[in-house]
Symmetry: C2
Subunit: 328 residues, 2 copies
């Protein structure tokens, strides 16, 4: 039985989408037990493997992360993280305030020994559909070269365990493919990665080929990674608007788009990274999954499934062993 703690109150559409996702998850996975934290008066689920723990406080999207975690002791997010810390649950999932969840991970769940800075990882959809593990997308905005090296180790283990890629190709995101390219940070990180025996380092990768299946893991700092992630998100929306504005102004185009409607939907699904679940905070003494704030029930369900897989494949145990060792 895998026990996962879930924050019922986080995200734009809580608690409804959370409850719907939890019901589907315990229905689909017979070895799954959910510890649900939130306002019990809003919870209608009655299931032997769903245990509701009533909480009285809630962390909002506007709350200052560290202060919220330190002060709102009876919030659903804090209680959920404590369940991981004290061993009641193997993993936790929340669609709430990202900064607060990172703080909860850092201050409540705690770092693994040897990990200097946790990293937030996502899986991006790619052209061939294999997907690529991308980190850090925002945990550590002022990274040093050794943090990027650790990100590479964490990403490598994540790709092996969760994505089942036996020998993941690890690349460094940079502004040129040649070894001497980049800023001071990427030049130093390149040297560390190049010298490593633990990784299959394939060199630099440019932002224009992120989605081209040239690597299985792409490493960057939290500032650049967050920037790229938001750029990918925004581009899709902006291009959508431009298409609507120009193409949809003509009837013949409207009809043509109608013909392709279902295939375009399929395409959007292939490009929708919520299909790959949420982002995972790596380097902690437990699995912490962040579902997108605007998650629907399906995306939250994917995040629960992702937390379950990460727990079962023992990524935390592997990271404790391998990352601690590499920093020995």
């Amino acid at each position: 039985m895998v026990k996962i703690a879930v924050d019922m109150m986080g995200g734009d559409h809580a608690p409804n989408i959370v409850l719907e996702a939890v019901e589907k998850a315990v229905h689909d996975f017979e070895d799954l037990e959910i510890l649900l934290f939130g306002d019990e008066t809003q919870c209608h689920i009655n299931h032997p493997r769903v245990h509701v723990h009533h909480t009285t406080e809630q962390i909002s999207m506007e709350d200052e992360p560290v202060r919220a975690i330190k002060r709102k002791k009876d919030s659903s997010m804090v209680k959920m993280a404590e369940a991981v810390k004290n061993g009641e649950a193997r993993a936790c999932v929340s669609a709430g305030n990202t900064g607060a969840l990172m703080s909860a991970g850092l201050f409540i769940v705690g770092r693994l020994p040897g990990v200097q800075r946790p990293a937030l990882v996502v899986t991006l959809p790619t052209v061939q559909g294999k997907g690529v593990v991308f980190l850090d997308v925002g945990a550590n905005a002022d990274a040093k070269a050794e943090h990027l090296y650790q990100n590479a180790l964490l990403g490598h283990i994540y790709a092996q365990n969760v994505r089942e890629i036996s020998q993941p190709r690890v690349a460094l995101l940079n502004i040129g493919t040649e070894a001497q390219k980049g800023n001071a940070l990427t030049k130093q990180a390149y040297a560390l990665l190049q010298a490593s025996d633990s990784l299959h380092f394939v060199g630099n990768i440019e932002a224009k080929t992120i989605l081209e299946d040239e690597a299985d893991v792409i490493v960057t700092d939290g500032y650049t990674g967050n920037m790229i992630l938001k750029n990918l998100e925004g581009m899709a929306k902006s291009v959508g608007k431009i298409i609507k504005g120009t193409l949809m102004s003509k009837l013949k185009n409207k009809l043509a788009l109608l013909v392709m409607k279902n295939d375009i939907k399929g395409l959007a699904k292939q490009l929708d990274y919520s299909e790959y679940g949420g982002s995972v905070l790596l380097g902690l003494d437990g699995v912490v999954v962040k579902a997108h704030g605007s998650s629907n029930a399906k995306a939250f369900y994917s995040a629960i499934r992702q937390a379950k897989i990460a727990s079962e494949t023992k990524i935390v145990e592997t990271m404790r062993e391998k990352v601690g060792e590499n920093n020995g």
Copy 2:
């Protein structure tokens, strides 16, 4: 009469596309004179306002930038830059090796007094079609906060003169819109920009809304800017591939796309930043325009026109006055 120096030998399709662009430019603009540097045996143009200067060396895409500029003294790029330095031409245009052109700008044309680091600027297409001035896209990968502040001044002047926006809204590219967001660099830059009387600073902008017309000038460091530019380039290509792979596999979709063909082309044109000319190296004692390496004749023509406008509107003179003053 505006005199512009042109590198005949730079870029993937030189000299043919350069010659075609030059012919069209002198035809369209009666007050334009071109100093053309390159292999005269390959030049067929016979026009009273095109003066060919024979050169014997060529800088390739593979050449190490600084070394190439220092050693290949009789190359078309070096001679073109020298024409700006000694006052024979007001501006220069090349589609050659970007790094070498930046070095030629720095070591031959020279920095303006008070400018610490030149910046490379592009104009990106936007949703409403207004376009946005974006810098630095690669001149200075390890920027300090005061460099970002100077980039803001340079971008402000560029937007006023070349894009004719009287009071440009200047934004700082960052990983959150709130003032306290970002890495150490953007937090410091925010404070400098916020305190400035010379700029209409509108705060942070996220990478997801770059194309949404929220600002007229967006400022970032050369590492991040280059990353974002390449990501925008690459995304379009990757999505194109995915569309081809899925949509085009069905006959009905092929037919539907055929109906929209012309409008899609128009759309691609709206999103094609080569329509806005090349990138410009700002902060130098002359106008240096970089046309895209894969430019066709139309893109190179746009770059020449852009160099002409920049010369006529005296951006160099304004930058000498305003940027020098702000660093007094």
